[in-house]
Symmetry: C2
Subunit: 353 residues, 2 copies
């Protein structure tokens, strides 16, 4: 695949890239069967052990036995996109291996034996694909995958057959979403076989204007095809968002500046803030950074400030707050914790109007 | 009158003191008659000339011929409490003399020939009375006042007969007003012959929680009696407000802190703000200063920070904004000016959470 590097402005829209591969071992029953097998735990433990042994040659992965995780800890990992709710539901046989920097997560015995993902900041699906392929190669060298010459990789659900690959990019789309353009984009991408999802629950208003674009179809095309399709569509959406941001800034003028700066005033001074308002205010602040309402970062790469806020948004989800606090808090206590922690982090970020 | 100095906390409630005296000259028709007299302008000019000459020995007073003031300039002076709307209505014959620091204003040919007032920050009616008496003595030495042994000073309206004195104190009553105690205070003071008024239009919600307490009755008692009555009532109200503030802080806890700090976040970051929201947010910030939510002033006298905000509130009234701007602005332009000016001044004030 030929690649042209994205413009820096792209990274104020396409904030992160993720590749996920679904794999199964040919010599073991699929997890759905494994769960009903009297020897399940034994076999599951065997699979986990084999993969852990392979990966230990690559990095210091942390092994999580899902069955022995507290609900709090499991929720924490789900909030950080490191494991899925389905993995938690399979806790009798499931496990996860996670790299120290959280870029790599290998879920074991979720819907498939293996769900391996690579996550990175910025917009670079090719790089993400190369990284996860490295992991994939290491695992496949010692444990043969279920692979069919016609269908490709065999998976529990036919929607993952073939490449078993889901390539996704997270986009920050405040202008597209507020100016009513999102619906058109969704129907455009759907016709291309792509899917658009809100990052934090669709239509809840609490989505932080973050949307994930990924491929629906995994079968009948190569990995390179899929990467190119997603990448090209993302580029189009990025261009639309950048254009709509310029229009919004021109049309709304002082009203937009006022909304952004009030949001900044709130997140740097409030003493309690609920999750819903938090997402809305943080999205406004990020939009302000993107539009140059704040003094630019020393290196001119303002998207790093935006990425820092994205990290903060994840860190301020309920189970993440409880983990930072060291013990579970009530919803109201979380609102107070969220405010205090955010005021401190925002001060460190040294955004200045 | 025996005086005990008020505690410093008093000045976070009783923010300014004002004495106003009504006087008339015995050898001239009262203004209401003067207006109907064919020689009115001549006689009015004579009165203005006499008073101006007397006062020029004391300070560099500025003489305003009301008839030649623009509407804008007149509105500016009204907003600063230096002249009254009645004075503006009498513009054919009226004038005002104002001291450079705006502490003294002498209105000529309003309802009475003379309405002289002394205004000062803080709570000290006795001092204010001494200052305005100095002015009163200078004027009376050369132009004899209309005075009756039984009734005292004669005035156009019988409600000012006798001492012709109105002693008033401006109080910042956010706790009393929000906690529903104001009604009881008003009926208590009414029975004492005192009057309570909102500073910026009652019941509008845009009053900035500022209320003026003054004497209703001017007749049948000495100046010292009136000063003592107002002073004692103010002291009682101050004590009630301080007690209610403590209760409010204890009961509302983090919610109150959050409201105050959000108000601070808004007035230090907004890009437009209307007069109504402005009053509400500024009242919250002042309450926060009074409750010690911000780093204390270097000299420990936080009421000075509150007084600076009161000055800013006056400076951000419509005609004051127009004068600062140098030309009239639309209502929306004023909202933008108010935000920009306030963000700058608040930065200079160096309040810090």
């Amino acid at each position: 695949m030929k690649r042209d590097m994205p413009r820096p402005a792209y990274e104020s829209v396409a904030v992160s890239s993720r590749i996920r591969l679904a794999r199964n071992f040919k010599d073991y029953p699929f997890p759905a069967l494994l769960k009903r097998d009297p020897h399940a735990v034994e076999q599951a433990t065997e699979i986990v052990g084999l993969i852990a042994a392979e990966l230990s040659t690559m990095d210091e992965f942390t092994l999580y036995d899902v069955g022995s995780l507290t609900d709090e800890r499991a929720a924490y990992l789900v909030e950080r996109y490191l494991i899925s709710r389905d993995l938690v539901r399979n806790s009798a046989i499931s496990a996860a291996l996670i790299a120290p920097d959280e870029s790599i997560s290998v879920m074991i015995n979720e819907e498939d034996h293996i769900r391996e993902q690579y996550f990175m900041k910025g917009f670079d699906l090719q790089k993400a694909y190369e990284r996860i392929s490295g992991i994939d190669d290491v695992i496949s060298e010692s444990i043969p995958f279920a692979y069919d010459k016609t269908f490709g990789y065999l998976t529990a659900c036919p929607t993952n057959l073939g490449t078993g690959m889901r390539a996704s990019v997270m986009l920050f789309l405040p202008a597209v979403s507020r100016r009513g353009v999102l619906k058109d984009i969704v129907s455009l991408l759907t016709r291309q076989g792509l899917v658009v999802r809100g990052a934090y629950g669709e239509g809840s208003g609490a989505d932080g204007e973050l949307f994930q674009i990924s491929n629906e179809v995994t079968l009948g095309r190569t990995e390179a095809d899929i990467l190119a399709e997603v990448e090209n569509s993302v580029k189009i959406v990025v261009e639309i968002e950048l254009r709509e941001r310029d229009r919004m800034a021109a049309e709304e003028g002082i009203d937009l500046q006022d909304r952004v700066m009030r949001a900044y005033g709130v997140v740097t001074n409030c003493r309690k803030i609920d999750a819903r308002e938090y997402m809305r205010r943080m999205a406004d602040v990020k939009l302000g950074i993107a539009l140059g309402f704040f003094r630019p970062a020393a290196d001119g790469r303002n998207y790093k400030q935006m990425a820092a806020i994205d990290d903060l948004i994840v860190a301020m989800r309920p189970a993440n707050i409880n983990r930072l606090n060291g013990s579970p808090l009530s919803a109201e206590e979380q609102d107070v914790f969220r405010a205090r922690y955010t005021v401190e982090r925002m001060r460190e970020l040294k955004l200045a109007p």
